[in-house]
Symmetry: C4
Amino acid sequence: MTNTSFVDPRLELIAAASHFYQQGWMVGTAGNLSCRIPDGSFWITASGRSKGELQLGDFIRMHPDGRIEREGSANNLKPSAETSIHQTIYSLFPDAIACYHVHSVEANLVSGFTNSDNLSLPPLEMLKGLGVWEENPNCEIPVFTNHLQVPQIAAEIEKRFSKTSPQIPALLIRNHGVTVWGKSTTDARNYTELVEYIFRYMVAYKK
Amino acid sequence: MTNTSFVDPRLELIAAASHFYQQGWMVGTAGNLSCRIPDGSFWITASGRSKGELQLGDFIRMHPDGRIEREGSANNLKPSAETSIHQTIYSLFPDAIACYHVHSVEANLVSGFTNSDNLSLPPLEMLKGLGVWEENPNCEIPVFTNHLQVPQIAAEIEKRFSKTSPQIPALLIRNHGVTVWGKSTTDARNYTELVEYIFRYMVAYKK
Amino acid sequence: MTNTSFVDPRLELIAAASHFYQQGWMVGTAGNLSCRIPDGSFWITASGRSKGELQLGDFIRMHPDGRIEREGSANNLKPSAETSIHQTIYSLFPDAIACYHVHSVEANLVSGFTNSDNLSLPPLEMLKGLGVWEENPNCEIPVFTNHLQVPQIAAEIEKRFSKTSPQIPALLIRNHGVTVWGKSTTDARNYTELVEYIFRYMVAYKK
Amino acid sequence: MTNTSFVDPRLELIAAASHFYQQGWMVGTAGNLSCRIPDGSFWITASGRSKGELQLGDFIRMHPDGRIEREGSANNLKPSAETSIHQTIYSLFPDAIACYHVHSVEANLVSGFTNSDNLSLPPLEMLKGLGVWEENPNCEIPVFTNHLQVPQIAAEIEKRFSKTSPQIPALLIRNHGVTVWGKSTTDARNYTELVEYIFRYMVAYKK
């Protein structure tokens, strides 16, 4: 899980997707992973592919303005329906190199634990891995409405985060899973694991 | 998980069964998977085989009228006790190429969440993967009584679906798991994962 | 998972133990599996071995009277502390070829669902795999007290089953897991999966 | 899982970490494992490494007084933030050869089941694997406060255990997982599995 410039970053996305699929977080082709490369474009999983068995040909290379780069992109593939969220994240956070969106049962459940725009997280040690180094921290994750038109979700993310940066590099869409971003594919994978751990705790605690 | 005409479709069924077994959805030889081939006959898992380690010789080739095709079918094998349900699905839905029946704990639990003939599903994003592209959809899955004589279940499915097509390609039998069908083995595998995801959510939400 | 006379039956026990370990049913060296061979002796897992990585040298060969057969048995190994239960099962049920004892969290939980000597099981389709072919069956599994001295447990099993045979080839010891037996290692593995499935259902239903 | 002097003990730690990671007990780089070697120094996992894919170069060799042994230690690596707890355990228990610290959701949940300094454990058969050979034992696991400064936690462990030895080789830190120790890496692995089993039981029982 080192992240050198010599490894095709799609291999990192394939490995992460396979692991997340086995956890039940990317079943039935759900979710999408992306990774930004030095020229500013990013690789993103194509629509409708099983995330447990991705291949190099299952990715599309896209420029920040939404233009698809022919070189490398598989033909006949549609970019993920949620590409606009990835574009927004890369635009908002210049340091972000990877952006992962997965759908766990627990993420859906906790998104219903509040009617507010933010969900309070318990003061678990695990928050340190997300960059929160406080004793008994008050930490929240932003929650967004799930619109049928994904660009509307992206616009609301853009609007809110332009004003206020979130405490942790993650956001929830109601009934539609979590999105995290990080400075490397390794960070994005770790953050995904950490938020999902926290959601599991919250669901079990609630019962 | 591509589905070309050059791959023996039994290999797809073997891979899906192994995956479902590992999820705990086909334990103790439970469940049965089938796939229709161009001549109109279909391969179906034989009775009493462990679904985690199927082999090519663990399938029976059956014609729509219930006649067993000798060519390819293993000798000494009994077709699955639930073959009549597969026959009914292929007869009702000419586009169906694969039909998967699995027994998860969650499918059994949710089948008891209603006394009605239909079970309401929550408005999860995951419904899109089952073909429901609406904002906050009202979606139901049909529920059937579990009779000791499986052909009686099949007859009730035939009777109800001849009048009303279900909203999603799936049905529940009380205390007896879910059956899904699709235009390819890939679709059937994805649909199985999606309905099981929704059932997990419903069980966790209920608690 | 075929069970021919040409395969060393310890290989079947090793494969089953590895699978059960991965399910969390044989953690921390818990549980023991045995298999009877044609001369009437049986192979049983030695005490204190991790069940996820058993080897041929981790078994002891024992005669029905408790005498350890030197040939094949590893030196320096103690037979499982629960050997007397296996002896009792083989003595009571002449058809039994394999006897598996595992400790799941769910088996412990359901053993506390009743104070009686028998626990009612829900009328799940899965009971068919355990030999119960009825519509809405009333089925019970016997429950025994957990004594510190295992031979006392074995004596109570012997006493009760000499009078009344159980409805299914399985018994619970309170806070101490389930024991199943069958006419082959394949049957014992399937029965283990089936009773554990039923226990998972019962625990989830109770919540 | 044999523990001979010819095997590099880091290989045991790597195997255990990979297994624990797959159980969800070491996600997002959480947790740390260590093993004492004959000269009194110990190998401990470096900070910030994914526990599912450790390599020999991901360990630091440390002396009891906290001095890092250059030979073998990877450069540029920081010792785990929780090293002081391992030092304290090795200092308190001269027989301890391995010390494992993992973060399960269940360990966090049960640490909140009491406000006291000790948590009562249920009288499960599994306690035998932790050395408690009694009928219906009254067994407790010590619970410590989670301070932001880990050495403060270590000091409180040192203070309490100097006066009273715990009944089982394990301790909980609130919202911060469990730590176990044993006379071998095999024992530490088994103890980890056993305490996690007991926590799973306690969480499910509570619901």
